[in-house]
């Protein structure tokens, strides 16, 4: 549920084009992906969303975006995305230099919650929980690191809609500990393609000491819940 396509300005040695991303999904046995646009996050939200909405592949679920530095345009753009059937919103808090208290981010968090959209966001969960808390928001924090596990678990106890990506929960007991503390519905697997290597997170997740039901929930159940 954490896949992007486009270009990576700092990594032109990495092919991040849509065909390359589709090949990598296949190569790693990933059946479906929630897909966002790097163009939308790093350059221009509107044409990035255009590019995204133009994709058509049964494996892909589009994740729109708005620019946190131009939150005045967020409302019409969210309505346009909703009109195209998009239920998911990717925010690039870290990449766009938004801090948790910036009015633009707070505004977008409120708009997304009002519309019942699920937000997928980058950024340190210890700081970026704030604009989303207390709104019954559905939010997946993509960069939750093993080192920050305790902070996430404490948040998840109060926020039924807060989910962590399993990608960086990479200590020997992190995935298992989150599931034991707050349940598998607070966890979802995301590969971080094309910016991250896939096998590290995929191998760790495949070897996780979970029940088959928990494994299915993290592997696809949590993300499917955002789409229904």
């Amino acid at each position: 549920m954490d896949v992007l396509f486009g270009r990576i300005p700092s990594r032109h040695d990495v092919d991040a084009s849509l065909p390359a991303v589709l090949r990598l999904l296949d190569a790693h046995g990933l059946d479906r992906a929630l897909l966002g646009s790097l163009r939308g996050g790093l350059f221009d939200a509107r044409t990035g969303n255009d590019e995204l909405l133009a994709t058509s592949d049964p494996r892909l679920v589009p994740v729109g975006t708005v620019d946190l530095r131009d939150a005045l345009t967020a409302e019409p753009e969210l309505d346009r995305l909703a009109g195209a059937g998009v239920r998911l919103l990717r925010l690039f808090c870290a990449e766009q230099g938004a801090e948790p208290d910036f009015p633009g981010l707070r505004h977008v968090a409120a708009l997304a919650a009002e519309r019942g959209m699920t937000v997928l966001t980058s950024g340190d969960v210890r700081r970026f929980w704030r604009p989303f808390a207390g709104r019954s928001a559905s939010v997946c924090f993509l960069d939750v690191h093993a080192y920050h596990l305790a902070d996430f678990v404490l948040l998840a106890r109060d926020e039924p809609g807060f989910v962590a990506s399993a990608r960086l929960l990479n200590a020997p007991d992190s995935i298992e500990r989150v599931v034991a503390e707050v349940g598998a519905r607070h966890l979802a697997y995301g590969s971080g393609l094309p910016r991250s290597d896939v096998t590290p997170s995929a191998l760790r997740f495949r070897l996780a000491d979970l029940t088959p039901g928990e494994w299915d929930q993290v592997g696809h159940g949590t993300a499917e819940g955002w789409l229904t």
């Binding site: 486009g6 270009r7 300005p9 700092s10 990594r11 032109h12 040695d13 790097l38 163009r39 790093l42 350059f43 221009d44 939200a45 620019d67 530095r69 131009d70 939150a71 005045l72 345009t73 766009q96």
Partner: protein, 249 residues
């Protein structure tokens, strides 16, 4: 006569609607800017190849009776193979006069290995480069210039908040030019530069259409240039550095 060596075209991700190349033409006419050397915002912030291509198309459609428009080939230091191809593609046409290199979006600082490799490529191409400088690491350019005796660099923003270091660095190498545009206009910084660096190394830039040209023109107005300084800084230095034809004196 005014030549703007630091201009942009295309949209930005801030709350401003400045993406239309026609706005650049409007601003040039409003402020009497006769020629501008422009890089595409897309090329700087996201995708050098597609941004350069987009701007080449802007150049093709530019009105023949409009102010003169030239381009920078934007180079991403993390992709020198694409940079080499773009330099070969665009420089020979005569509408692209130099190279633009940013540091933020490629995440490569002025002292990075990738930046040194990119500037070596620029030296080989034989054109000047406008480099985004924003901090005391502007000094790294002096090292690169020492290693590449044919290279000519323009310190865009003159070091930004570290403009005193930009000035000191330019005083050390006559192939380091200063372009002081900045949306924050610390008082007197252009005069500070003129008093310490040969006038032949000062250039004029606006950052338009991201920033209104009123800012840089206002800074120059407040610097109290004499006639010779005005001629050199506002256009003659740029014309010589980039090989832009100007009316005979």
């Amino acid at each position: 006569m005014i030549i703007d060596v630091h201009a942009h075209a295309g949209p930005w991700f801030f709350a401003m609607d400045v993406g239309d190349p026609g706005l650049g033409e409007t601003l040039m006419r409003r402020y009497g800017i006769d020629a501008a050397i422009v890089s595409a915002s897309e090329a700087v912030t996201y995708d050098a190849v597609s941004g350069n291509r987009w701007f080449a198309d802007v150049l093709d459609r530019w009105p023949a009776d409009g102010p003169r428009l030239y381009g920078y080939v934007t180079v991403n230091p993390t992709d020198l193979r694409a940079a080499e191809a773009d330099l070969e593609r665009y420089l020979p046409g005569g509408r692209f006069l130099g190279v633009k290199i940013h540091t933020t979006y490629p995440a490569q600082g002025l002292g990075s290995t990738a930046m040194r490799d990119a500037l070596r490529l620029v030296a080989a191409a034989g054109v000047p480069a406008l480099v985004h400088t924003w901090g005391a690491d502007v000094w790294a350019l002096v090292d690169v210039l020492a290693a590449e005796p044919s290279l000519r660099l323009v310190a865009g923003h003159m070091g930004g908040p570290a403009w005193r270091e930009g000035v000191a660095a330019a005083a050390r190498c006559d192939r380091l030019y200063l372009e002081p545009c900045c949306s924050i206009t610390d008082r007197g910084k252009v005069r500070f530069a003129l008093d310490r660096v040969p006038t032949g190394q000062l250039l004029f830039g606006t950052d338009a259409t991201l920033i209104d040209p009123a800012v840089s023109l206002g800074v120059v107005a407040d610097a109290g240039l004499d006639a010779r300084e005005r001629e050199l800084m506002l256009w003659r230095n740029a014309a010589e550095l980039f090989g832009i034809a100007v009316p005979r004196p």
